[in-house]
């Protein structure tokens, strides 16, 4: 299957939250006890959690005195920091673009949460049998040729789904066709080495609360800089220390120093 991607066109979003409901429905997620003003205005709940893999964020843009919407969901990075950090391989980047969690392999170390620049993976701290929760890209639906649940239900086509190349060129074309309507940036094209979810917006992304100022290089590269030397370093150290220890022991034997440890 070709690599898939999603466009989240925030200028088309009307804040109906159908995506949140569809996501809950498909992934069998529970309900939350919520507060009407849990966060800024009508945003509800305040953040992603074990019952919400996606969330429409509500911000008010004072200059225009109107809502601007954003959406939280896993960005499904091209080189995901979470999957690179996971010590058990519970998180994997799939060929269809999804970053998938194999729940039973998770040991709850929460390194993925630490590593994720978008603060997406969530953990149910209240549970005695907790685990990591995050958007699945509806990987199970993709395999049978369906679009992710959120993309399918969006009534205004704010969420669109297709092959990654096609989605990226579509996002760019949309900006080029209506430059006044969009800020000239496809969020997710280059952030941390590219992602499989592209966000478009009418206001600068920091006003939507998105993490801006991310490097364009994949974050795993930072770890990889030292991690890739590990085997070489290990065997060099082993050799060097072994040799030194052997020399020291022979010297001691010749000088008749008793082993004294």
């Amino acid at each position: 299957m070709a690599e898939k991607a999603m466009i989240q066109d925030n200028t088309r979003c009307i804040g109906c939250r159908a995506c949140m409901i569809a996501c809950k429905e498909w992934n069998d997620l529970g309900a939350d006890v919520t507060d009407f003003f849990a966060s800024d205005g009508y945003q509800n709940p305040r953040d992603l959690n074990e019952n919400n893999y996606t969330l429409i964020t509500y911000r008010e843009e004072p200059a225009e005195a109107q809502w601007v919407f954003g959406r939280l969901l896993c960005m499904h990075c091209a080189s995901p920091a979470c999957a690179s950090a996971c010590p058990t391989g519970a998180l994997q980047k799939l060929a269809n673009g999804a970053v998938e969690l194999t729940e039973w392999r998770c040991i709850g170390c929460r390194y993925c949460m630490q590593a994720c620049p978008f603060v997406i993976p969530k953990f149910d701290y209240g549970s005695v049998f907790p685990k990591i929760h995050k958007c699945t890209f509806c990987s199970d639906r993709l395999e049978v040729g369906f679009a992710p649940a959120c993309a399918k239900v969006c009534p205004t086509h704010a969420i669109e789904f297709g092959d990654r190349d096609e989605m990226l060129s579509k996002a760019k074309r949309r900006i080029a066709d209506a430059p006044g309507r969009y800020v000239p940036h496809v969020y997710g094209e280059t952030e941390v080495g590219g992602t499989n979810v592209f966000h478009l917006s009418s206001v600068p992304f920091e006003k939507l609360g998105y993490e801006t100022g991310l490097p364009h290089e994949p974050l795993p590269d930072l770890t990889h800089k030292s991690m890739r030397f590990v085997p070489r370093i290990f065997f060099s150290l082993l050799g060097a220390f072994g040799l030194m220890a052997w020399i020291v022991r022979r010297r001691n034997e010749r000088m008749g120093i008793a082993e004294d440890h």
Binding site: R46, D47, L48, A81, S84, A85, C86, P87, T88, G89, W104, R105, C106, I107, G108, C109, R110, Y111, M113, Q114, A115, P117, V119, K122, F123, D124, Y125, G126, S127, V128, F129, P130, K131, E211, G213, L214, P215, L219, P220, L222, T223, H224, K225, S226, M227, V230, I233, F234, L237, L238, F241, G242, M244, A245, I247, V248, R251, N252, D260, H261
Partner: protein, 388 residues
């Protein structure tokens, strides 16, 4: 008598701390992590990792540092320090495993890490190396015990694997001590610029040597004091010389990375984190550096003790600063360690001190000569026994 009463007071305090920690641990397994800890979705690690993992392993580095010094660099005169170092190292690594079991969300799945292949993950490497190294520590410790109790067959087998085990153990330690730093290189946006740098692996490795030597010094002064043994100030002075070199290397890396990463602006800012930074650098490293450089200090066991405590504090602070205080995530949630997090870690620490206190009196860990002075009645049998 005075010493004995003070030991008793210490012991009861430690037992109390351990019991409180145990209670919180039970609560964690009964009601989940959220019941006792403040770790949250934006700050998933917090105190448990900063203190229980990063710092415990740093100070557990005493085992490999002394093994490196004695067995590999052939500095044989430090041999009397090896046994305490290995015992403390083993205990601290076991303590780290216990804290990890509390801290992991799904500890019952922990074994799966050994049936995975994730060479890109620093945590994978730390887990593997730390486990293998704990095995090495058990072999080293077992070899000492077998020799002492004259378990002939075990002693022969362990004697054969001892040196290879030391070599493997020291190599493994270099890997996972530095990988603890690598753990945090993937989050340049979350760790404050005053602590994040690409040379974190190197600073963490250097500080683990220093932590090991400081802990050995602190232990030696306290143990010889309470067991009424002759302190080997000459050896402590020798370790202090190594400390000078290590502190200089560490500070060069530290200051160099601050300049290289462009963090001097932040370092000269007047805020809480800069206060922590300067406390760390001045009180934790520069003052010990100055003290260790004075010959009079290197011949005075309490001066060495105090300097080592400051240095140990500096290392602890730099680790906590990197992983706890300097961690700033742009998110609505914030983090302060909860009582439960302090209680569990200090509970484990108190238990370790108690076990070590017990071990040091029952096992032939210290073999220095007893003090010449006439020992107070009631303590003499103890000290004499331990000194054998």
């Amino acid at each position: 008598m005075e010493a004995r009463r003070s030991i008793f007071r210490w012991k009861s305090t430690l037992v109390a701390i351990a019991i409180i920690g145990g209670t919180f641990t039970l609560a964690r397994f009964a009601f989940g992590i959220g019941a006792i800890a403040n770790v949250n979705n934006a700050y998933p690690w917090g105190w448990w990792v900063g203190f229980g993992v990063l710092s415990f392993i740093a100070f557990g580095g005493c085992g490999f540092t002394l093994a490196l010094l004695v067995e590999i660099f052939g500095q044989h005169r430090y041999a009397p320090m090896v046994r305490p170092a290995i015992t403390m190292g083993l205990l601290l690594y076991l303590g780290y495993v216990v804290i990890l079991m509390i801290e992991l969300g799904r500890p019952w799945m922990g074994w799966i890490i050994f049936f995975s292949w994730q060479p890109t993950s620093a945590l994978f490497e730390v887990a593997w190396c730390a486990t293998l190294y704990t095995t090495v520590l058990i072999i080293e410790f077992g070899s000492v015990a077998a020799n002492h109790y004259r378990w002939r067959r075990s002693a022969r087998i362990l004697g054969m694997v001892y040196l290879p085990a030391v070599v493997v153990g020291v190599s493994l330690s270099h890997l996972h001590q530095s990988s603890l730093g690598t753990l945090l290189t993937i989050v340049p946006l979350k760790v404050d610029s005053r602590w994040w740098s690409e040379v974190l692996p190197a600073t963490f490795l250097t500080s683990s040597y220093m932590a090991g030597l400081s802990l050995v010094t602190i232990e030696h002064v306290l143990a010889t004091h309470y067991l009424r043994l002759k302190p080997r100030v000459d050896l402590l002075g020798g370790l202090a010389r190594f400390q000078i070199g290590l502190i200089v290397i560490f500070l060069t890396l530290r200051i160099g990375s601050l300049v290289y990463e462009g963090a001097t602006d932040a370092a000269l800012r007047f805020d809480w984190l800069s206060f922590l930074l300067w406390t760390e650098i001045i009180v934790g490293f520069l003052v010990p550096l100055a003290l260790f450089s004075i010959p009079d200090v290197r011949q005075n066991k309490w001066a060495l003790f105090a300097s080592s405590c400051l240095l140990a504090g500096g290392i602890l602070l730099t680790r906590l600063n990197t992983a706890v205080f300097g961690m700033r995530v742009k998110h609505w949630e914030s983090y302060q360690p909860a009582i439960g997090e302090y209680a569990t870690t200090f509970g484990v620490l108190a238990t370790l001190v108690l076990i070590y206190g017990f071990a040091v009196r029952r096992l032939p860990i210290h073999r220095e000569e007893p003090l010449d002075e006439d020992p107070a009645p009631g303590i003499a049998p103890h000290a004499a026994k331990a000194a054998v």
